[in-house]
């Protein structure tokens, strides 16, 4: 595949420690312009730290690279101008109104036509009627949409979202993702960290990070294929109750109930089949299935913990 697009993020060998804890290790990542990249990994894996280094909020201990063609070490201010960063915690002012928060952002970025922009943003959000309501009184979903609107008010080229939908209901999440796709459609590059698998599947591609290291990269299909994980689905009376018993067998990495069924997977197909052989008889029905992204991530997490 030819390198058709330019890179919005191109960083190499990033390292960051807090005290003696090394949070990010030799991280190298490239993100093409106009793509939505899902940034996944367990809690404390260094996702937030990486996003902060890319947008200039943290200085890497070592490493180099560019963001939007600008040096992440020297041009932090210019990067900030063209980047929207939505923090994990709501970072607008609770005691200012919705309109005041947007106006503040517009002023801080030194935008022209501020009134117009704020009015348009409010209209797009559907918050024109509630413009004078304190931002702190909004529900979680609305807060996230408002934060997103504030982030893109200055029309950034790169949008970094740190777990933007944590604690937001499914309908609001879907609306949020529709907006992200619309923004990407206009050419914005988006990097979004998340724990939700359905959200990972809505990304163009995925970067999986664990314990500060990038361990999987590509589209969802590619990441699943790379894992070489074999998975079976068992159905039948009492299948879901076999999880503990089967999970304890060597060669089985995980056995997780899904409703009345059980998913059993392991990295070595032969060993897995040997392990499940005693139960492979009626009334249980076994079918080999494609592992889900979640299966793959748990597998990756287990594997990187073993190397830790």
């Amino acid at each position: 595949m030819a390198e058709a697009r330019r890179l919005a993020i191109d960083v190499e060998g990033l390292n960051k420690s807090f005290g003696d804890k090394r949070v990010v290790k030799d991280l190298t990542i490239k993100v093409e312009e106009g793509r939505i990249t899902g940034f996944l990994g367990p809690n404390g894996s260094g996702k937030t730290t990486t996003l902060r280094m890319i947008c200039g909020l943290l200085t890497p201990d070592s490493g180099s690279g560019t963001c939007l063609g600008l040096d992440i070490l020297k041009d932090a201010r210019r990067i900030k101008r063209q980047t929207g960063y939505m923090t994990q915690k709501f970072s607008l002012y609770d005691d200012l109104t919705i309109a005041e928060n947007l106006m503040f952002t517009a002023r801080v970025y030194g935008l022209d036509r501020r009134r117009e922009r704020v009015r348009d943003a409010l209209e797009q959000l559907g918050l024109t009627q509630r413009r004078d309501q304190a931002a702190g009184t909004l529900s979680g979903g609305w807060k996230q949409r408002l934060a997103l609107a504030a982030c893109v008010l200055h029309e950034p080229k790169l949008l970094l979202l740190d777990e933007p939908t944590a604690g937001v209901d499914p309908k609001a999440r879907r609306a949020f993702w529709d907006e992200i796709h619309a923004l990407a459609g206009e050419g914005m590059t988006v990097m979004v960290s998340t724990h939700y698998m359905d959200e990972a599947e809505r990304c163009h591609d995925i970067a999986y990070i664990a314990y500060g290291e990038l361990i999987a990269r590509g589209t969802a299909e590619e990441v699943i294929a790379q894992s070489k994980l074999a998975t079976f689905r068992v159905e039948g009376p009492g299948a879901d109750r076999l999880a503990r018993e089967i999970g304890a067998r060597p060669g089985v990495e995980m056995a997780a109930p899904f409703g009345m069924a059980l998913h059993v997977s392991g990295p070595d197909r032969g060993a897995l089949e040997a392990a499940i052989a005693p139960w492979r008889k009626p009334p249980l029905v076994w079918t080999e299935i494609e592992p889900t992204l979640e299966d793959v991530f748990i597998h990756l997490m287990n594997r990187s913990k073993d190397n830790w």
Binding site: T59, R77, Y85, K89, D95, V108, Y109
Partner: protein, 384 residues
């Protein structure tokens, strides 16, 4: 190079947040009033070893005995021997001496001869010792003056013997007291202007210290840092509204001082304005500096108190500065409040202008520069 739009953005934001916070309103207006009522009359002390400038025009043994007796009371230390009344005035005005003592040339002669019984030249005039006191802080001069008035009876007991024995019967000389700057010895005259310094420190240092840490704690700092706003812009924008608050408090206190406590306003308006401006800016910068070091609002609060307590206790507000031991005076000299109090008391009670108050004004300027520099150097545009 900074952008006024961004400063304006931060300022408007800060103003709006302030206007939503009712507790802040209470603090801005009630704090000065409550404190004024509380401290208006409450504080007193008994300092010793107050500096005295003397002018001795009579070199006889009697004059020396009077000075010796004064020193023996423990209230007075002679710090200067002046040769002219101008030098004496200057010592009093500059605060180098809290008292001046003049022993006129005919002192010994008049003691020996006694008051003129003939009553010629008006009332009978005996020997006199002239004492002028800087009474702007009555708490510190009162006990000393009381000690002085007993002096006439006892000072010359050992000198007036033999043929002079009868001269002891009546007071052999008279101590003529002249209280300058606050002749009625009203404590409030001293406390009330001092309160301005304390109230400004309390509100301004604490509010700015908390203001920045609040952003850190609530997570809004991360959002602010992700924007292109510069540290100096944040600082100016955040501090401007508080300068307004400081000015409001100054007006409230000075008005109450005038209306309720009848504090004299002798002049020195330029020194007063300069001192107040420097002190407000310095206090704000200090609050900002604290906020760059504190990790939570609680820490910011503790650090503010760490600064406020000595500011109240060692600045000459709560206790007369000269009544404190040397080490406490040394700490007091580092505190900006001490210098602010000198400027404002000097202006209101003595009418001192920039010419006389420049050492304190210079100290305040140095404070502003150092603290602002430190605050700028410590403010980070990253979360490192």
């Amino acid at each position: 190079m900074f952008s006024s739009t961004r400063i304006f953005a931060v300022m408007v934001k800060e103003f709006t947040q302030l206007s939503r916070d009712r507790l802040t309103y209470a603090m801005i207006l009630l704090l000065p009033i409550v404190q004024l009522m509380l401290f208006g009359y409450a504080i007193n002390a008994n300092p010793k070893h107050l500096p005295v400038a003397v002018m001795v025009q009579d070199h006889g043994p009697l004059a020396r005995s009077v000075l010796q007796a004064m020193t023996n009371t423990g209230y007075f230390d002679i710090v200067e021997e002046a040769t002219s009344s101008r030098e004496l005035d200057h010592a009093l005005e500059s605060g180098k001496a809290q008292f001046t003592v003049t022993i006129p040339p005919d002192f010994s002669r008049k003691v020996v001869r006694g008051p003129d019984p003939s009553g010629l030249n008006g009332a009978p005039k005996g020997a006199q010792v002239l004492v002028e006191a800087d009474a702007s802080d009555p708490a510190s001069t009162g006990p000393a003056l009381a000690a002085l008035s007993g002096l006439a009876q006892t000072a010359l007991v050992h000198d007036l013997k033999g043929p002079l024995q009868p001269r002891q019967a009546n007071q052999p000389f008279e101590v003529v007291l002249h209280a300058r700057y606050n002749p009625e010895n009203v404590s409030a005259y001293n406390i009330v202007p001092g309160l301005l310094g304390v109230v400004l420190s309390m509100t301004l240092v604490m509010m700015t210290a908390l203001g920045m840490t609040r952003e850190l704690e609530r997570g809004t700092m991360e959002g602010l840092l992700a924007t292109p706003v510069r540290p100096i812009e944040v600082m100016i924008g955040k501090l401007l509204p508080y300068i307004g608050i400081g000015l409001i408090q100054t007006v409230v206190i000075l008005t109450l001082a005038r209306v309720l406590f009848h504090v004299p306003f002798e002049g020195g308006w330029l020194a007063l304005a300069l001192g107040t401006a420097l002190f407000i800016v310095g206090s704000l910068a200090l609050g900002f500096l604290i906020s760059t070091a504190a990790k939570s609002q609680l820490q910011a609060m503790q650090a503010s108190f760490f600064y406020l307590l000595p500011s109240i206790l060692l600045s000459g507000f709560a206790f007369p500065f000269r009544g404190m031991p040397a080490w406490a005076q040394a700490i007091g000299t580092i505190l900006p409040v001490t210098h602010f109090l000198r400027v404002i008391r000097g202006a209101l009670l003595k009418g001192l202008g920039t010419g006389e108050s420049w050492p304190s004004l210079a100290a305040l300027s140095a404070f502003v520069l150092v603290v602002t520099g430190l605050a700028m150097a410590r403010y980070r545009t990253t979360l490192d």
